[in-house]
Every structure is written in structure tokens, then in C-alpha cells.
Symmetry: C2
Subunit: 436 residues, 2 copies
């Protein structure tokens, strides 16, 4: 008889209950694939008596979750509590320090403390796994760690937040504005009561920092992610993008670059971007997540699926448990932490590409001349420009343009030249255009 | 100093040369990720002196490739010779019998002899890996074996042949017919001089049989794959499908079903199908491969990328080598071969769905009445029907229809009722419509 893998489960929210349901429903095949049974021995949550739709009476109950790691019978702790610090981090530290493996869906904790936890796990010979922390049920951590392991990754980017993508693709479909769409999404359960982390890009930034670390062999550096949300994207921008052959998506991008001093550097950005129709990410609608990894031998690979939800997240958590049961859990970030490099943030100055700019301006003579003069003075070459009158925009005039391929620094300079202009009623919206 | 993983490489065609190029170009990162160097020690091919654009002088040369496995210094044999039997199979058998690991891109060999080789590898404690055999550089074997390991797979299907997909998506774009598009594809290097395996669906069937085995824990049963190629798809079918909101793709599908006797059974089909626009597979154009796996907890996952080519295939081969170097290579088909079940082929009778039928008929009164009467007598309910006159089709009349959701057996009965009709100038083309 093979020894079961004994699991302590912290957090019995929807994902925790999903893990219990999955291990019951798929017990036979999970055992066959893992080579041995996966057995929950103890659980911990805030309230023992809440009805979660699953029976927890067979498991030991522990009030203080940090103690889950102290039971000699436990092989693996599954942390589904959330929060970058606090009890989740205390439990995680306690787990890996004792040589037990840790499986977590906690993107904030891994983005902030992944290096510390991975180093401690290596030192104690335990595994640290977090497939569920990135893109929910989509096995993109394994995809990078194993599938693309032979490649130098040239670019990695994707749609990493289901709420933001739901809002943008719903705006696209309905023509409604951001505020209306957000409140509809909240009513339908696609957005939280406090949507800040999702619409401001922070959640996507957590995931991006983790992906970047694996893809580029870099130490996780969440604070270096340049983050811009979708709240300033208007229905008019989406309509304008559509007319030009693009959709707007909140894209997380990580690239290895070289700074002016010749040092390798890491670009990490989460920003709304224009995506050419026909690009794989232009087809990603609703709460779906998708990640594109471009390797120097593999070419462009796409991993796509449900970015959240109890079922998909439980699927990712249990996949990690199966890896551990199989003894197939190597370094968390693909290479030993001692091999990970601390890369400085990339300088933005030398990047080139096409850019979309949208200005809201007062309706008076000379405004267009002022904007186009700033473009000329900054040496930004304009491919197309559309001015839409007040009739459609509540008294505002919108000027949208797409630049030719050129340095982003020139665009930044043009925007800077206009920063004190009293013709502009709001700060310009600047969005990068993805290459097809 | 860690011990390198010592590799013998059989076959120095484009993929073999690609593996050598990759191991040179990405040596540092492959070593870091694998935890030790991957070192080619010997090679074998038909002609030692052919210029392959890579320097093989540092490797030992072996004339008889089956002897590569007999060198005690070798840990892993990489088989890139091809062919389901013959020297490739002799080498594979020799390798796993001696307890050495085997990495192969040979889909025909795995589809035909995968069970035997996996059983022998388990017995001798070696690894058998074939990521490159399915969908080129797309890590879908790992995706199923590890990413979706927690799920009961409900459906698996995909675009598994780049040549067929290139032809269909080019016909879609150009409006040209099959024969013209095929010969253009041959001229451009997208199709082989003998395109049979690709356009008749045999290559896709090899891949499908491997995926089905992993997804459903079934013994590989290539002979049970029902296979139909794309040669009968006309430009008019593509235009018709387009007007109805579909594209045509050659789809490999595997499903676990239950036969009338209550026994679990395996459906395996490679057939041209109508794919609703908006479905992830409708966006797969050119020589791309894509696989959709629908799990009972993960929901729908998509894996997409280059289905062939030296770079992508080498990427998959070396990913397998890294797994082996890491000691992370468990059972080839996800579970031990003793756990794989021999599933009978699924009966087709009880499946339901929508179907596209296209008849070519003589232009005379009563033909349409004859066809629609057959549909009525077989209890097939018609959702839409279009008849296109001779003007566009060189004297033939085309009748295309889409059925309502209903049993496929009724459609088969209708076609059977018409089989002796002298109104039909060719056998009807029947294509399943995928659900969105």
C-alpha cells in the first residue's frame, strides 16, 4: 500500500470548498495520476460552523491556522486564506521552515515574498507551488516552468485579470461607459464591491511579477511593475480603436531589455493597450485569462482559460498537489533561487512602437494646431487622426490619433509639451499598440 | 560538479539539427533550468557528411543507430528518425529495454507502439517522453499530464494538423478550391510532395490517439480513430459555412462515452467540421495547432502554437530532456500502463448535434423534393437550406443544409435513403457542427 499525501487545508472559502469537492469527485483518477491518494487530514478557517456545502467533519479542526504546519502527520499545507502578509504569510513561513511543502493560490504573497519563501523551501528541501496564483485554472506556471523550459523567452504578455477583461469586452459589446459597466459587473458578481485591485491593474501586476520571474530568471520585483488601470478608458476610445482595427485590453507585459549602461533589465508593465484584431489576445473576451509566451525556438505559444472561480482555481491547486505526490516538484521559479538575478527596471526611453493618444479638448479655434505642433516638435509622426465634435461627447471634443512606428520617448515628450496647455480638459490617454 | 545528462541523438534532419542548435544557443539557461548540463555525446544518421548547418565533429558517430542505446555513457536516446516501425522502433525498444530514457518526436511510433514502449520503460525504470509528437512546440502533452491532472476530461479536441489547417484557412481567404490551394501549399513548402498523411487526417489521427490515451486513461488505439480528410471540402462549402457563421476546420475529437451496453467507450474522430465563429478554434489560421481540453473543474482550456518546424519541435524535445534531467518524468501516459483501460470504440448511434450536409445534384425537377423527403422520412429536422444554381458550379447544382439539433443516426439514415438516388452526382458531404 502506498502512503497517501497528507494535506492540511487553511481557508475554507469558495476555493477551499472547491478543493474539497474536487478531491471527492475526482478521487479515483487523482489517486491514479498522483500514484497515491491525496488525503486531507486537517482544516482551519475563521468559522467552523458556516455551511460551505461540503462536509468537513472527517477532518481535524485547528483554530490557529499557523499550527497546521506543526502536525507531524502533515506533508503539505494548502494556503487559501489570502493577503500578502498576516496569517497567510505566518503559515507559509512556518510550513516551509519545517520542511513541509506549501501549495498556495495567494498571488499577492508570492509577488511580495516569493523569493524568501522559495529560498526557505529550498533550504529545507520542501516544495513551493503556486499554479493557482496566476491565471486561475490555466496551467501557465507549469507551461513556463516545463513547457517552454528550453527557450529563452523573448516576450511574455497577456490578459491577466478577468474582471478588467469582462468590463472592457462588455463595453466593446454594449457601447456603454466604464462606470455603468463596472456597476453592472458588480451587480452580476463579475466585480468585487471594492474593485480597485482589479480595475487598477494591481491583481494583474501580482501575476505578472510572478510570470516575469519564471520567464526571465529574475528575482520577483513587484514594486517595479508600472501599473495603469482601465478607469480612464472611455466608450469613445473603444469605438475609435474598433474603427482602426483594434480592441482594447488590459495587458500585462514583461520583457528582458538592455539599459543604456549595457545592463540586462526587466520591463514590467500593466496597461490598457490596443490589440490588433486577429491577434490571439483580441479574441479573449469575458472573464477569461490568456498568456502569450514567445520563445526563441518555440515561437508564439498561447495558454488560455478561466482566470478565476472555485472550480478552475481548485483544479490548479490539486494539479500542484499531484506534482508533489509524484515527486515532480523542482525549484518554484524554474531555477534555484541562487540562480535568479536581480534585474533593474528597464528604462523606457529607447522603446519603439505605435501609440494611440486621445485628448479631450475645449472646442475653440487653434486647439488642433497646438496638439499637432507639439507632435511635430517632439518628432512624433502621425499615421491617423480623428476629431469628434461635442455633439457626441457632452460638450467635450475628442481628438484621437495613432502614431507611426517610433520611439515612445518622443510620444512622452509631446505629452509633456502639452502638459500646461489650457486647451486640454483632462490628461491625455496614451496606449501602446501591440504588434500583430 | 553535477553530472551532465548524456544524450545520444538519432536522426539529423531539420529537427535533429534544430536540437543541436538549441542546445548550443540556449546552453546556459537550459543548464540552469535542468539543474545540470545537457550534453550530446553521440549522433547517428544516414549520411555523416551532409551539410546540416551544425558542427557535429565534437560528437561520437555511430553508423548503426540501434547501437546508440548500447553505450554505457548514454543516459537518454533522442529518436528523430521517424516511421512507426523499422529502425526507429528497433532503437526505441533497445533503449528502454536497457533502462535508458527515450525522447521521441515520432507520433506514428507512439500511436502504434506507445503501450509496449511505456510498459517496457516502466519495467526498466526509464522515462519515455514524446511532447514533440503532438502539436509540435505546443506543450499539450505536459498540459494534459500535469496541468489538467486534477480533472476528469470531458472533451478534448483540436486543430492537430498544420498543413490541413493552412489549406482550409487559405481557401477561406482566397476563395480558391482545394486542388489549387494544395499545389500552392506544396510550392511554398507548407505541404509535402505526398500530402496524403496530412490531408487525409492520418497525421492528426496519430496525435489524437496519443492525446486520447492521456486524457481518458485509455490504452492507445490508433486503429479505432475514424478518419476523414479535407479533399472533398469545396470552396462553395467554405462560402456556405461563412454565410451561416462558421469556418471549416479539420478537427480531431476524443470523448469518453457510454455504449448501449453500459460500457465506457472511447470516441476518436478526425473530420472536417463547422466551427462557430467566436469559438477559440475558429481563430486558428495557417499552420498553427491548437488543442482544447474541457475538464470538469478547470472548464475549457486552450493550448495553441506552432504545430511543426525545426525550432518548435526542438523546443518540445529539449523540454522533455529537461524533465528527465530534473528527475521529473513520471508515467508517459500520466498513469501507470497497468492503470490504462482498453476502451471499446464508441457507438455512433446515440450522439446528437447539428450537422451540415452538402449534396451535388443534377439540375432537374423534383431533386429537392427527393432530398427533403429523405430528410423527413429519417426524421431529420432542417434549420436552413440553400440551393445554388449551375452558373457558379460548372453545371452542378449544390444543395447545402444545416439540421436542427438532433441524433446523428437520423442524418446517417437520411444519407442512406439517398444512396441509390441517381439525382446525386457525388456522395453527400456530411460535417458535424461544433457547439460554441
Amino acid at each position: 500500500m502506498v502512503k497517501p499525501l497528507k494535506i492540511a487545508l487553511a481557508g475554507l472559502g469558495t476555493v477551499g470548498a472547491g478543493v474539497i469537492r474536487l478531491l471527492e469527485a475526482n478521487a479515483a483518477l487523482v489517486t491514479a495520476r498522483a500514484g497515491r491518494p491525496l488525503q486531507i487530514v486537517s482544516v482551519s478557517a475563521r468559522d467552523r460552523n458556516r455551511d460551505r456545502g461540503v462536509d468537513i467533519s472527517a477532518y481535524g479542526w485547528v483554530d490557529d491556522m499557523t499550527l497546521l504546519a506543526e502536525d507531524d502527520a502533515v506533508d503539505v499545507v494548502v494556503e487559501l486564506v489570502g493577503g500578502s502578509d498576516g496569517p497567510a504569510l505566518a503559515l507559509a513561513r512556518n510550513t516551509v521552515a519545517r520542511g513541509k511543502s506549501l501549495v498556495t493560490a495567494n498571488k499577492a504573497m508570492i509577488a511580495h515574498h516569493g523569493m524568501e519563501l522559495a529560498t526557505a523551501a529550498e533550504a529545507s528541501g520542501s516544495a513551493l507551488k503556486f499554479e493557482a496564483a496566476v491565471a486561475g485554472g490555466v496551467p501557465v506556471v507549469k507551461g513556463l516552468r516545463e513547457g517552454t523550459a528550453a527557450n529563452e523567452i523573448e516576450h511574455i504578455y497577456g490578459v491577466l485579470n478577468g474582471t478588467a477583461n469582462y468590463i472592457l469586452s462588455t463595453m466593446e459589446e454594449s457601447g456603454a461607459d466604464f462606470a455603468t459597466t463596472l456597476s453592472d459587473a458588480q451587480r452580476l458578481g463579475y466585480a468585487e464591491a471594492d474593485p480597485t485591485f482589479d480595475v487598477e491593474g494591481v491583481d494583474a501586476a501580482h501575476k505578472l511579477a510572478i510570470l516575469a520571474s519564471i520567464a526571465f530568471g529574475a528575482k520577483t520585483d513587484f514594486d517595479a511593475v508600472v501599473c495603469e488601470g482601465i478607469a480612464r478608458v472611455r466608450a469613445a476610445d473603444i469605438a475609435q480603436a474598433d474603427a482602426l482595427g483594434y480592441v482594447i485590453r488590459l495587458i500585462g507585459t514583461a520583457d528582458a531589455e538592455v539599459n543604456n549602461d549595457g545592463a540586462r533589465a526587466l520591463l514590467q508593465e500593466v496597461k490598457p493597450c490596443l490589440v490588433p484584431k486577429g491577434h490571439p489576445l483580441s479574441h479573449v473576451t469575458g472573464a477569461t485569462n490568456a498568456v502569450v509566451a514567445e520563445g526563441n525556438f518555440s515561437g508564439r505559444l498561447l495558454f488560455q482559460g478561466a482566470g478565476a472561480g472555485d472550480g478552475p482555481t481548485a483544479s490548479a491547486v490539486v494539479a500542484d498537489l499531484i506534482d508533489i505526490a509524484r515527486g515532480e516538484a523542482g525549484p518554484a521559479f524554474s531555477v534555484a533561487t541562487s540562480e535568479l538575478t536581480a534585474l533593474p527596471p528597464a528604462e523606457v526611453g529607447h522603446r519603439v512602437g505605435q501609440t494611440y493618444l486621445r485628448f479631450t479638448v475645449t472646442d475653440r479655434p487653434g486647439v488642433l494646431a497646438e496638439i499637432t505642433a507639439a507632435m511635430r516638435d517632439a518628432e512624433v509622426s502621425i499615421e491617423s487622426l480623428i476629431q469628434q465634435g461635442r455633439a457626441n461627447h457632452g460638450g467635450e471634443v475628442l481628438v484621437a490619433m495613432v502614431t507611426h512606428h517610433g520611439p515612445e520617448s518622443a510620444v512622452a515628450k509631446a505629452v509633456d509639451l502639452l502638459k500646461d496647455s489650457d486647451s486640454l480638459t483632462t490628461a491625455p490617454l496614451v496606449m501602446k499598440i501591440l504588434e500583430s
